[in-house]
């Protein structure tokens, strides 16, 4: 007699197997949405509190409105300033554009990670080999991503609404919730854009790059529309423009929600449609043709590292050049607003004393320093991915020493950081010089180089974690960067114990060109970075290679 077949037991009572992908995606997207919602809320809350704390008198607030309210240059960058003499107006001005761009980046990266990234890893194949078709799987994933977006909104709304109840801020719950809608609208749209480009591209990196191009065009179009040259109608062809037109807290307009919702729904539907029209692992757009050139082929670990980091570093260099150029372009206008205001106190707390162009640039370079630190972080995480992905086995099973690869990787990254510093200085000077802001080339270039040591320090700390505790590389490096940034922001607003402030790598950096770069501080940061990297290298040499 044949034995009884194995009895099939439902996976879990009450849960439909038809929603597995939606739940799986939702879990990951909600985790990320939770974290970023917290960051959004803190940024909004801190902007409002800082305004209430710094601009105490009506005179100071009026001065701020006069300086930035009709400034086309800053309007092009951060959106037009409106009602800057109120907490609500300033909060929108200070945080809105930054957060909607950040939200869009979060949306596109989350979407491409959970769609194209899953496909690249082969996990998607397992999921769609069950009941789900390619289309239904994509639709489910989009639902999961929507849950992530909803989480982002919920946390942002909660913190914004709670902050609004503070008597000095006084933002009602309704407007606070609408502000949160506006803040996450770009994130929701770019979740859909990421899903769409995941169908077009052959890899996650390509999908993210395509979505980033959409974001770049959207931002550039909005910039032109807000630059005061009579092309404001262009705002209606830019997704970021629609978000801007919601005008939360100052003059709420729900009408732009129509194009936002329509865009999201249509792009999502097209993504689902395209998912069914291509093979798994293939792309709608043809993959770039392979070109084999002996001259460009990597011939060793160092050449391989250069080849692998090339496109990412170029992308960052372009982003840093663009940011530096914009910061340079507004130097003249922005520096005028510092004199005589309480903003001077904040700048002083941030290490950039005085007034005028140099004081403004001192803080502007702090912002670029954060970008360069992200480059360092990204490269350490990419190095860890080489190990966890098993690709290093092919090198280390051959006559390649671990220290050779490790040091080569760090040196290439350090060279990239240096290049980014030079680019930051050069493009800031170009922007400022074009507006006759009266900045000296040498002082701006030295300020550009001055922001490299914090990034080198973070790179070294990342290398230490990679060597000692590889699985914690990502969380530890972002932890150091996040802590440094948070400490610096809070330090700029209120009074923080100097021991705490000293733990921020950015606080150790001189605010050049407002003050002369400190050779001893820079040397100290580099020394910490090098020493950490050396210890990390020794640990890396002595441990097992660790998979994911």
């Amino acid at each position: 007699m044949l034995p009884n077949p194995v009895a099939l037991v439902p996976a879990r009572a009450g849960r439909s197997p038809g929603t597995v992908i939606a739940r799986l995606t939702a879990r990951k997207a909600m985790r990320s949405g939770l974290l970023w919602g917290y960051i959004f809320g803190v940024v909004v809350g801190s902007s409002a509190i800082s305004y209430a704390t710094i601009y105490k008198t009506q005179a100071e607030r009026n001065q701020l409105e006069a300086a930035f309210g009709s400034n086309n240059a800053t309007g092009a960058l951060f959106g037009p300033g409106s009602q800057l003499q109120t907490v609500a107006g300033f909060t929108v001005y200070k945080s809105f554009m930054t957060l909607i761009i950040l939200g869009a980046v979060w949306g596109l990266l989350t979407s491409t990670r959970l769609l194209r990234g899953e496909e690249d890893s082969g996990r998607w194949e397992l999921l769609v080999s069950g009941r789900a078709t390619r289309r239904s799987a994509t639709a489910q994933a989009l639902l999961g991503l929507a849950a992530g977006g909803a989480t982002l909104w919920a946390i942002t709304a909660l913190i914004t609404a709670v902050s609004g109840r503070y008597s000095k801020i006084d933002i009602a719950t309704g407007p606070a919730l609408f502000f949160a809608v506006a803040l996450v609208a770009s994130a929701i749209m770019f979740l859909a854009v990421g899903a769409f480009t995941s169908q077009l591209a052959a890899t996650r990196r390509q999908a993210s790059a395509y979505a980033a191009v959409v974001l770049g065009i959207s931002y550039a179009t909005r910039m032109v529309a807000d630059s005061g040259i009579g092309l404001h109608r262009l705002i209606w062809v830019s997704p970021l423009g629609w978000v801007e037109e919601l005008q939360p807290l100052t003059a709420p307009q729900p009408l732009p929600l129509i194009p936002i919702v329509a865009f999201t729904v249509v792009i999502s539907a097209v993504a689902v449609l395209l998912a069914g029209r291509r093979d798994l692992g293939a792309s709608i757009l043809p993959d770039r043709p392979a070109h084999t050139s002996r001259v460009l082929s990597p011939s060793g670990p160092l050449g391989l590292t250069v080849r692998l980091v090339r496109s990412t570093v170029i992308g960052w260099a372009v982003a840093i050049a663009a940011s530096a150029l914009l910061l340079g372009l507004v130097t003249k206008g922005a520096s005028g607003a510092i004199s005589g205001s309480s903003l001077k106190q904040v700048f002083t707390k941030l290490g950039s004393p005085g007034v005028g162009v140099d004081a403004y640039l001192g803080v502007a370079f702090l912002m670029v320093a954060v970008l360069i630190a992200f480059v360092a972080n990204g490269q350490i995480i990419a190095a860890r991915a080489e190990e966890s992905g098993g690709r290093l086995d092919h090198l280390f099973a051959r006559p390649v020493s671990r220290s050779q690869w490790f040091s080569g990787r760090l040196l290439v990254t350090a060279a990239a950081l240096l290049g980014c510093g030079v680019i930051a200085g050069l493009f800031t000077w170009l922007g400022a010089a074009s507006q006759h802001a009266g900045v000296r080339f040498t002082s701006v270039m030295s300020a550009g180089l001055n922001i490299v040591p914090p990034a080198v320090c973070i790179l070294g700390i990342g290398a230490l974690v990679l060597g000692v505790w590889p699985r914690a590389t990502s969380i530890a490096t972002y932890g150091v960067l996040g802590w440094s940034l948070l400490t610096e922001i809070i330090g700029g607003i209120g009074s923080v114990n100097h021991w705490v402030l000293d733990t921020s790598v950015f606080h150790q950096m001189s605010a050049a060109p407002a003050v002369a770069p400190s050779v001893s501080a820079d040397a100290g940061l580099v020394a910490i970075g090098v020493a950490s990297a050396l210890i990390g290298g020794i640990a890396f040499n002595r441990r097992d290679l660790a998979s994911e």
């Binding site: 009884n4 690249d120 002996r294 690709r391 092919h394 280390f396 051959r398 390649v400 002595r542």
Partner: protein, 295 residues
């Protein structure tokens, strides 16, 4: 060597010597410790105790020198997706330091690989071919192969066997970890069987068969004799006039009993490598007990 991961023992007191020019088959089910052994040999992981040498060079303290003389094929192939096949071969060849270009071209043809494609466009089988070519083209003195034919079709598996025969003719040493018994049986001079991190059997196939049981099947014309008390005979099973049994050690006592009976047909055969392997995993080979409850 031994290797522990926390409280889990992945490898326990492994003592193994592979002589120059031999093809050594390394067998074991998933999680038995085969890949762990290879990672320890390559210096990708550190042993908890013990040491290993390759051509007299310590695997941990002098890995670079040892690796100049070996080539490795990983069981799970993860390569750089943005490189083409040709770029990958160029990179790995330059890193290895020695390539036989004519043999590389021959291998590309034999394995029917298009090296102009990007790695991300390759199927699993083609990625496997790529790492096989990268290893074989170096003509290294030692080939360390961790399930090298996973994902290959039967034709390509034949091509692989041909390459190993060529390597053997050139006096290259091969450590072949595999699940495919026919492959190991066809290629290997000696075999080691690993179970739960311990080497439970090692020797040539002949030696292992000699130590193992012989399967005997006899068909009788007359009365079927009782074989259960014959020395060396294990678990005889009678079905009508046919008796099947296993014989351990000398077959002479059984032959004496059979000679006294009217035997019409007598079949005997040595165990296959698969049977030898399964003998070490008895509980796995046992049929499942029928459930008592009706479905």
């Amino acid at each position: 060597m031994s290797k522990r991961y926390g409280s889990t023992s992945a490898l326990e007191g492994l003592h193994l010597e592979v002589t120059r020019g031999e093809v050594f088959g390394y067998l074991g089910p998933n999680g038995a410790g085969k890949t762990t052994t290879i990672r320890l040999l390559l210096g990708l992981a550190r042993p908890s105790a013990g040491r290993a040498e390759i051509f007299g060079l310590d695997c941990q303290s002098r890995p670079v020198q040892a690796h100049r003389r070996l080539a490795y094929v990983a069981g799970e192939v993860n390569l750089w997706p943005s490189l083409t096949g040709a770029e990958t071969l160029h990179l790995l060849g330059r890193v290895q330091g020695q390539v036989d270009p004519m043999y590389r071209d021959k291998l590309i043809e034999r394995f029917n690989l298009d090296p102009s494609k990007r790695v991300r466009a390759y199927s699993k089988g083609n990625r496997q071919k790529l790492v096989l070519i990268a290893a074989l083209m170096s003509r290294a003195d030692l080939l360390v192969l961790d399930e090298p034919t996973s994902g290959l079709d039967p034709l390509m598996e034949q091509a692989f066997r041909h390459c190993i025969h060529e390597a053997k003719e050139r006096n290259q040493t091969v450590l072949l970890s595999s699940h495919i018994m026919s492959e190991v049986e066809a290629l290997c001079d000696r075999v080691g069987i690993l179970r739960e991190g311990r080497l439970v059997e090692m020797g040539t196939l002949g030696e292992m068969r000699h130590l193992s049981t012989l399967t005997v099947e006899a068909t009788f014309d007359g009365t079927v004799p009782d074989l259960s008390r014959v020395p060396g005979v294990i678990s005889p099973i009678a079905q009508g006039r046919v008796v099947r049994c296993q014989v351990r050690g000398s077959i002479e006592p059984l032959l004496k009993v059979l000679a006294a009976s009217r035997v019409r047909e007598l079949l005997s055969r040595e165990p296959s490598l698969e049977e030898l392997f399964l003998a070490h995993y008895g509980p796995i080979a046992e049929p499942e007990k029928a459930p008592t409850d009706a479905a």
